[in-house]
Amino acid sequence: MFRNQYDTDVVTWSPQGRIHQVEYAMEAVKQGSTAVALKSNTHVVLATLNRADSELTSSLQKIFKVDDHLGIAASGLISDGRSLCKFMRSECLNHRYVYESAMPVTRLVREVADNAQVCTQRSWKRPYGVGLLVAGHDKSGPRLFYCCPSGNYYEYLAHAIGGRSQAARTYLERKHEEYPDASLDGLIGHALQALSASLAEGELTATSCNIAYVGRDQDFKELDEASLQPYIQALRDAEGGDGGGGADGAAPMES
């Protein structure tokens, strides 16, 4: 993508019928690290990659709990993600205050998207630079949405966003028939597989990724390092042990 004379503000069309500023914002999502999400008939799983820029820093938090029934994974400008998260939390709290029930996922996603859309139509505003994978469970069952800076939102069975996410999407597409009936553990396994497919170098470890899930009778929950470890181990076994990995199936808990 190259600079041109039609990209100085968000309210100017290019002769090709494009809003370049909005497209740049969409590009910002790809600057972030990979975030993967997929759902079964009962659960939705979120998975993100943690890239610490240096040995001396911690990595950014990219998964946020919004309410008991809903959470998000962000990729791109995480500060924008935090601000949207704050908005979503207050919307959910308002809904609970008035109706004493969980906010329907579709309604919340619509609110977020409407918010993002305003920024694509005002000269003094900047579009959000973050993509959100919204995972929730409400009366209609498990739901998974992707909200992008353009103000569009899409519902998915499985999706991956962020840098190098194409590899993860390829994995997700190849296996998508298995998701609806998958168990929660199976779903997490798929999420990790997809995540590791998008890895540039090295291996997935319990510190380099985050997993969260929500589902029927299951509040939104982020796994800590210790409870993530067995899944990582299972992933290693599956990857390395195509020949004889099945033999030491009990190994995950030992490491």
């Binding site: 205050y97 008035v98 109706y99 004493e100 029930s101 329907p104 579709t106 309604r107 619509r110 409400d138 009366k139 209609s140």
Partner: protein, 290 residues
């Protein structure tokens, strides 16, 4: 070339199409001037009804007024749960003080496919509440995601509305009963004008709290059949009618069941008997009265 007639009357708002209103007749000049004055000239030659527009405008000297007392009011609403459903009943009277002013006002209203609202108290406030509920329903419809508010959510919403209005010292003068099915189970909730909200297996507003609920407490079971529930409700209505001055013998019964959804009966009358000795000669055994 004529301008296309609007699909609805702007005077009445969307959805109220009607030929005369959709295509207003040109006013004669005399009518037009009367129109401007805010009055209507009856064709019978009677004195015109006029609204003094200055009364409607809020002026600096007149304080903004809050409801201090109700004007047109409905009386008791009764509600019980039974096996697989809920049942509500009320008469159709709206009184103006002790005048039986409007005798065919429906005070049990279907809110959605699983919820009925019953209301006592100020009828205009009830209509305001129904408008708000209509707005909520429209929002649900526009979202087009197949989700609608459940009875419990509506109960919670109305309890906040009533409480907020009491906080503004401008209450909605009603006692409400919200009835429906919540996840297949019967649900009854009650909210009053100052925001006190609670739910129970049987409820009654107004005089019903004194006259019908003792009956309910004695006779109600959550596993009643529909026939038993109907019999109990009819008996309670009869008692309310005998002893509540502001009630009439014209009732409606509403039901919410899983199989049939919401149904509200046509108005009916109960057989009554006024030959009881206490009715014929009420002071016979009372000492010291005429």
């Amino acid at each position: 070339m004529f301008a296309k007639a609007p699909s609805h009357s702007t005077a009445l708002g969307p959805g109220c199409a009607g030929p005369p209103l959709a295509n207003p007749q040109q006013l004669s000049s005399a009518q037009a001037s009367a129109h401007e004055r805010g009055s209507h000239q009856p064709s019978c030659g009677a004195a015109p009804f006029a609204v003094d527009a200055s009364m409607l405008r809020s002026t600096g000297s007149q304080p903004h007024k809050h409801t201090q007392s109700p004007y047109v009011t409905g009386s008791s609403v009764l509600a019980i749960t039974y096996a697989g459903g809920v049942m509500l009943a009320s008469d159709t009277l709206a009184s103006y003080g002790s005048t039986k002013r409007y005798k065919s006002v429906q005070r049990l209203v279907k809110v959605n496919d699983s919820t009925v609202l019953g209301a006592g108290g100020e009828i205009s406030d009830l209509q305001f509440i129904l408008n708000m509920l209509d707005d909520l329903k429209t929002e649900d419809y526009c979202a087009d995601d197949g989700q609608s508010l459940s009875s419990q959510e509506l109960y919670s919403y109305l309890s906040r509305v009533m409480y907020n209005r009491r906080n503004k010292m401008d209450p909605l003068w009603n006692s409400l009963i919200i009835a429906g099915l919540e996840g297949g189970k019967p649900f009854l909730g009650s909210v009053n004008m100052i925001g006190v909200a609670f739910s129970d297996d049987h409820l009654a507003t107004g005089f019903g709290n004194h006259l019908a609920r003792p009956l309910f407490r004695k006779r109600h079971r959550p596993d009643m059949s529909e026939e038993e529930a109907t019999a109990l409700i009819r008996e309670a209505l009869e008692v309310c009618y005998y002893r509540d001055k502001q009630s009439i013998n014209k009732f409606q019964i509403a039901k919410v069941t899983a199989s049939e959804g919401v149904s509200i009966s046509e108005p009916f009358a109960l057989p009554t008997k006024w030959e009881y000795k206490a009715f014929v000669d009420p002071t016979r055994n009372a000492v010291g009265v005429w």
